[in-house]
Amino acid sequence: MHSDRAPLSLKIAAAAGLLFMHVPILLIFAYAFTTEEKSFAWPPPGLTLKWFEVTWNRPDVWAALQLSLKVAAISTGMALVLGAFCAAAVSRSRFFGRETISLMVILPIALPGVVTGIALRSAFSIADVPFSTWTIVLGHATFCVVVVYNNAVARFRRTSGSLIEASMDLGANSFQTLRHVIMPNIATALLVGGMLAFALSFDEVIVTTFTAGQQQTLPIWMLEELVRPRERPVTNVVAMVVVLVTLLPILGAYYLTRGTDQVAGQGK
């Protein structure tokens, strides 16, 4: 049984690594309740719920949250359509330029965000496009496609093509086959891809700084607080809320892909 027991040193190193990954995030929760306003003093001199009320009454936080949710929702919708189409085409047949298509989908996430950002920014200025919600969406949808694509492609690969042929043989047309055979098969993969795309867009800041102009998404609001801190307690509360909001889609994605060999979110 010797080989089934991990050596103590490995256990300690793995545990220490996991702690290193989690303790900083947990600290955020403690700071949201601190009574200290001006500094990051630890330990917190006292605990209070006051800052939740203050944050709740801040119109700028609500406006930023609203814009973030709107952008994430539209970008996810677009990414779902583009990613699913692309995955369906790539997995259904081998055609010329198939590798190029895969590369093109992955490129926006493989290249540093600052490159994508400045490329879009300079393209907007060349084409004289004014900044709007849509310029942000344009950037977000571009790099969200890959998450949907990865999840959908993995599912299509495991879905047997003979199911589609059987459906057609039994007299269903393409639309009926799509609705009754293909969609039920790939629905959870699309749901997972969509949730991850939503989380990715909701949190994105690097590309957004280039495509937002004067608009504030929640990450941009936070970035400004980080660069020029004005109200630390409000930032603490917003940070905690953001952690909780992004956690939900991840737990949902985990729940839906449990027990399959595909690892959701691996292709961030």
């Binding site: 990954m21 583009l82 189409f85 259904r92 093109m104 290249l111 490329a119 700084t209 660069v227 961030k268």
Partner: protein
């Protein structure tokens, strides 16, 4: 092929409707379906994304008139030559050095986590490790940076912990060091390094874990049976087999470090990294050509890196 397909179609009644007609056309001509499916994503990515990238590349061959501040639309390599001025070349060297250090440190920290998760974690522990790696990966990037600002601040938790252990002198001695030291950890290069490692760590754990899961346990047992000490097994058996995973992970850590401009801006010194240079040249300075040339640097470095990685089989571990 098409004969067989046509033959397999069930007989249709007359007036079966437009849906059936479309279905028949798509079934007889699968290429039409592929084209229809591919057209939206190809147009989107081809025009919006590749088009923008191409426009950026073109601009890097223009230059800026230093008297008027306007862009001169003539082909020139001057802007690229500016990259080799000491002040600019330092930025590139600093960023690449940081990317190398961050990748090595992430690999060292990730390996035990990935190895334990791949080989020993069973049942409930498997879920713990899976979520334990996924949650930091998907937690908000800015919140993670913010958390470290709280930790590294002079009055923050790290100083408090070291005071409790009576080790402040150690921190002070470390901060007195040139280059990596500074006034406090949150305004030092070490701080930048720690945050980079922290933020990109999950990107390294996942590919290493994927590579390690494919290593058969029997191979490690055979190595032990043949008399290798654990250290020797690690060096001669485990590490070579895990190397594609490490390289795949380093693609992420390397690329993300090269392009980041927010972490060094919030936690670190005033010395610039490539991402910050791009941001400043396009923003305040309005020097789009130089910003574009700076943006081409990480693309080129990543191109070379990916080529080497592909030769070492790293893509199988992705």
């Amino acid at each position: 092929m098409s004969m067989a397909r046509t033959g397999s179609l069930p007989p249709r009644e007359h007036g079966a409707g437009i849906g059936t007609w479309i279905s028949d056309v798509l079934w007889r001509h699968p290429a039409v379906l592929i084209v229809l499916l591919l057209l939206p994503p190809a147009l989107w990515l081809g025009i919006i994304y590749l088009g923008s990238l191409f426009a950026l590349l073109v601009q890097s061959f223009f230059s800026i008139d230093h008297f008027t501040g306007l862009i001169r639309y003539e082909f020139t390599l001057d802007t690229y030559a500016q990259l080799f001025r000491p002040s600019n070349f330092d930025i590139i060297l600093r960023t690449v050095t940081m990317a190398i250090c961050v990748s090595l440190a992430s690999a060292a920290i990730s390996f035990p986590i990935a190895y334990f998760a791949a080989r020993y974690a069973r049942g409930a522990w498997r879920a713990v490790f899976y979520l334990g790696i996924m949650m930091p990966l998907w937690s908000s990037y800015l919140v993670k940076i913010y958390a470290w600002k709280l930790i590294l601040a002079k009055e923050g938790i790290l100083t408090w912990a070291l005071q409790g252990l009576h080790l402040e002198w150690l921190l002070d001695a470390f901060l007195a060091l040139p280059v990596i030291g500074g006034n406090s950890l949150s305004v030092s290069t070490t701080g930048t390094f720690i945050v980079f490692v922290y933020v990109w760590l999950p990107f390294m754990v996942l590919p290493i874990q994927a590579a390690l899961e494919r290593v058969p346990t029997s191979m490690l047992e055979a190595s032990g049976d043949l008399g290798a000490r654990p250290g020797q097994t690690f060096r001669h058996v485990l590490l070579p087999l895990a190397l594609p995973g490490v390289i795949a992970g380093s693609i992420f850590t390397f690329s993300l470090t090269l392009g980041d401009y927010i972490i060094p801006q919030i936690i670190g010194t005033s010395r610039l990294f490539i991402g910050q240079a791009v941001y400043q040249h396009q923003g305040i300075a309005g020097n789009i050509p130089l910003a574009a040339a700076f943006a081409v640097v990480p693309i080129l470095i990543m191109g070379v890196y990916l080529w080497i990685a592909k030769r070492m089989g790293a893509f199988d571990a992705l």
